[in-house]
């Protein structure tokens, strides 16, 4: 494993230049910040904010839970409680009387030094949810217009197009038809059903799939076809289940996005939603959007792709012809493991499809985040080096699995792919990354 530049730690390069943070902060005055922050605390700062602020005994049990802390030579500023100390604790103590420079720093901390992965919550004796507190800061940044440029652009795309990647409605349908055509070369009678009313399954994906990874739609079509599923996709907005607004603190937009997604599924009178292999999108639909819309649980049944694979394997709807040869390891994505407990379900699928499986250590709920999640990768190139260096621990974890023979990392989450790919390249680990669908597609009997 190559650990080049590991002395130049991410945290020391504070205040990376991001034009939107700079411009946003330039427009602020202390008075404006004070009025926005006090209003936010008054209206949205509830019992959790005060209980978390009061319960923390500054014991540092959370420090070692955080990959940012571990990867930057145990820089105390990157300990979860350290990030709280530099941001929300100051805001509370000064009752919102802080300046633009403070907000710039708080923005960088909340957006790029925390993946909202909630690992620290499992190590704090009080279960203090630092991710919640960092989201509170992001919400404040959103209200103040101090948000990193790249992720804000994504949020703009969401509000203008209801998808993450500025995909136009006709482009979306074209992509589905193009993938259907491609798939027909392999399986002549395959369909990618669009707008099929009353189908069992409403299948939704994230914006980047049609944009960059259209083959995933192809593969899913093959899996659906082989398993005999009755499925459909939406031709109208709502086909995209992703949501970066949840990470910029734009909760109003999150609610709109999730509403459109649920409505597309109900308009087509489908029985349930199956979501593609993405972690954050799952969190936004299962855990965040429903709450914002006033639903205790999602208004119609919904599952992550892993649960769907589990089902069709367990019920024998698809058959595995040849198990995957190369030794694999599995990265537990925070949002579907700490967020939905799918670790054993995923292991069942891996077990059914792969010859040799090597665990990452730690694993399951205790796995380290990929460093990309929580919108951190979406903050774009300005923060890329910092992000990769701030997850040296992930590189070490992967290298250790590699030394036991693992050649392929399975990560059933789009963000994790992006994050792990950067880590594998930077630390020259020479491992391949795959989705579970890649494996299933490769190993199953197709007709």
């Amino acid at each position: 494993m190559n650990t080049k530049n590991n002395t130049e730690t991410g945290a020391d390069q504070k205040q990376i230049h991001d034009v939107a943070i700079e411009e946003g902060a330039r427009r602020l005055t202390r008075e404006k910040i004070h009025s926005v922050l006090s209003e936010l605390i008054r209206t949205e700062g509830g019992a959790r904010l005060s209980a978390y602020s009061n319960a923390c005994v500054h014991c540092g049990m959370c420090s070692e839970a955080c990959h940012h802390y571990l990867s930057n030579d145990r820089d105390p500023k990157l300990s979860p409680a350290g990030k709280v100390k530099q941001t929300i604790a100051v805001i509370m103590a000064r009752k919102g009387k802080v300046g633009p420079d403070f907000m710039k720093k708080a923005c960088e901390i909340a957006f790029t030094e925390c993946n909202l992965c909630r690992r620290c919550m499992m190590y704090c004796p009080f279960g203090i949810d630092v991710a919640y507190l960092m989201l509170f800061i992001r919400r404040a940044c959103h209200k103040l217009g101090v948000v990193p440029q790249y992720i804000q652009d994504t949020a703009h795309s969401h509000s203008a197009t209801m998808n993450q990647m500025w995909v136009r409605d006709d482009e979306w349908i074209d992509t589905l038809q193009w993938q259907e055509e491609e798939a027909r070369d392999e399986i002549p009678n395959i369909r990618i059903p669009i707008e099929k009313e009353g189908a069992d399954i409403f299948y939704s994906v994230i914006g980047p799939e049609p944009k960059f990874r259209a083959q995933l739609i192809y593969q899913m079509a093959v899996i659906m076809h082989a398993s005999g599923a009755d499925w459909t996709m939406s031709a109208t907005p709502g086909w995209d289940n992703s949501d970066m607004c949840m990470y910029t603190g734009d909760m109003e937009m999150t609610a709109r996005l999730k509403k459109v997604h649920f409505e597309a599924a109900t308009r087509l009178k489908t029985k349930r939603i199956v979501m593609g292999e993405c972690g954050h999108a799952f969190r936004s639909v299962y855990d965040v959007g429903n709450r914002l819309l006033g639903w205790k649980m999602p208004p119609l049944p919904m599952v992550h792709a892993i649960e769907f694979y589990y089902e069709i394997l367990q019920q024998g709807h698809i058959e595995i012809e040849n198990k995957f040869e190369q030794p694999v390891t599995f990265h537990d994505p925070c949002n579907i493991v700490r967020g939905r407990g799918l670790h054993e379900t995923a292991r069942y699928v891996v077990d059914k499809t792969c010859k040799t499986f090597i665990e990452l250590e730690p694993n399951r709920e205790h796995n380290f985040c990929c460093g990309a999640g929580g919108g951190v990768i979406n903050c774009g190139p300005p923060f890329k080096n910092k992000r990769v260096k701030s997850n040296r621990i992930k590189a070490e974890q992967l290298a250790s699995a590699k030394s036991k023979g693992a050649e392929v990392v399975i990560a059933p989450c789009h963000n994790c792919h992006g994050g792990l790919e950067d880590i594998i390249n930077h630390y020259e680990l020479g491992m391949e990354i795959k989705f579970l669908a890649d494996i299933l597609y490769e190993c199953m009997k197709k007709e």
Binding site: M122, Y123, G127, R338
Partner: protein, 219 residues
């Protein structure tokens, strides 16, 4: 100076317990009302089963991974809290005072045991102090208040030990013992010491979210 002795051993005791109990209840009630208004999710998702499951994993030593990763700290923290809570309740002098006032009382500790437990509390506090100074992340997290708090908690134990052993100036020490004990009780609901009362709620909420909604463990 010793005129305030009766005050410290009478009226102020009532004040201290009043503020401790009243303050704790009031703050918890206010928090519960605030949660009703602004964090309805807490009530929506609260599950007694999963809350208890999480709390149990955090009040038994080594039941959580975080504790297993830090065995020394865990043992010291547990021993500290046990001695801290039990000593004042079961020390003979306190029980006897209560018997004298109300003709009722409960089992009390042999004096030697109380002595040892008191020393343990003080040593543990010294350990916490050293940890705060020496461990980089904890030092960074520490505020002036954290150090004052250590002193505030140590004071009734040190002065109590002093009084019991009737060392030089023990009468003053006895007075300081009462005053510092009362001060600690009064501070409990309004300082970091309030972690005691918040623990079941923050932990329980975390356990409910993880267990009932997210299908995962949080220990």
């Amino acid at each position: 100076m010793h005129e305030i002795y009766p005050l410290a051993s009478g009226f102020l005791v009532w004040v201290a317990f009043g503020v401790f109990i009243g303050g704790t209840v009031l703050r918890l009630v206010l928090l519960a009302l605030k949660a009703r208004r602004k964090d309805p999710v807490i009530y929506q998702y609260f599950s007694f089963y999963y809350a208890a499951r999480s709390i149990i994993h955090w009040i038994f030593p080594f039941a959580s991974k975080g504790m297993r990763d830090h065995p020394v700290f865990t043992i010291i923290a547990f021993v500290f809290h046990i001695c801290l809570i039990l000593t004042p309740i079961f020390v003979a002098a306190h029980v006897i005072l209560i018997m004298e006032s109300w003709q009722t009382g409960w089992w009390y500790l042999p004096n030697a045991a109380a002595d040892i437990m008191t020393i343990i509390v003080v040593l543990c506090l010294l350990f916490f102090l050293a940890r705060r100074i020496l461990q980089k992340d904890v030092r960074y997290l520490s505020t002036a208040g954290d150090y004052v708090l250590l002193l505030l908690v140590a004071a009734p134990f040190i002065t109590g030990f002093w009084t019991y052993h009737q060392w030089y100036g023990f009468e003053t020490a006895g007075l300081l013992h009462m005053l510092s004990g009362e001060l600690m009780l009064i501070c409990l609901p309004f300082t970091r010491l309030f972690h005691m009362a918040l623990f079941p709620f923050t932990r329980g909420y975390s356990g409910s979210e993880f267990g009932a909604v997210k299908g995962a463990r949080d220990w």
